[in-house]
Symmetry: C2
Subunit: 126 residues, 2 copies
């Protein structure tokens, strides 16, 4: 893997903003002075294929979003549809639920590509 300016800038950005997710257009805007949009798209794909970022999905914006992938293969992501916050769910009950679905419903859940939508505590109050 080449370390290039664009690739570094993008991956550092994701690392520094672990708790947010961004659409491709967000990133094009953020880096508009330094990185061409074709390069943004190419590097998003690259970083995703190489497991550095995790592709998720925002129901409101109708587009993919990308987020920092920190060993994201083994837990669910809860995403608040109001504020956009992503919660990495580490929970034994979730594991049990997955086992139950596997054993009783014969379906093997892939946590890494599943995003569970809902409303977080703070937004529930509003």
């Amino acid at each position: 893997m080449y370390k290039t300016y664009s690739r570094n800038a993008l991956s550092e950005f994701f690392k520094e903003n672990k708790h947010n997710s961004y659409t491709s257009l967000d990133l094009i805007e953020i880096f508009k002075d330094s990185i061409n949009k074709a390069t943004i798209y190419r590097n998003l794909k690259y970083l995703e294929v190489n497991g550095f970022i995790h592709k998720t999905y925002d129901d409101k914006k109708q587009v993919y979003e990308y987020m920092y992938a920190d060993d994201c293969d083994h837990h669910f992501h809860l995403k608040c549809v109001k504020c956009g916050k992503i919660i990495h769910l580490h929970c034994d009950d979730a594991d049990e639920f997955i086992s139950h679905i596997k054993n009783e419903h014969n379906f093997s859940i892939s946590e890494n590509i599943t995003t569970i939508y809902g409303v977080c505590e703070e937004c529930e109050k509003c």
Copy 2:
């Protein structure tokens, strides 16, 4: 609600294919001889707003998919990433999982907009 040819054709199609989901492009292709694509888009939006179809998301195709909505607000959808089949999950353990997430993690899951991805029984064998 007007009953028009296009709207009827689309909703009947969804009803007859309850266990599949379709992208807008699938539907444009299927109805290419009888319905204009602008009308397809307008009616998909209409049917979705009126709760007749349910909008979901396919990780592979990077687009929305639409499926027949049969009281889909109160259960999870399991989608097989290999064959595309959608399973409407009616399961007490899922309800318990949702309660747990609500009570212990303070997050209110919206089942109606969440699709859980994984691999179904048949595809697991391959």
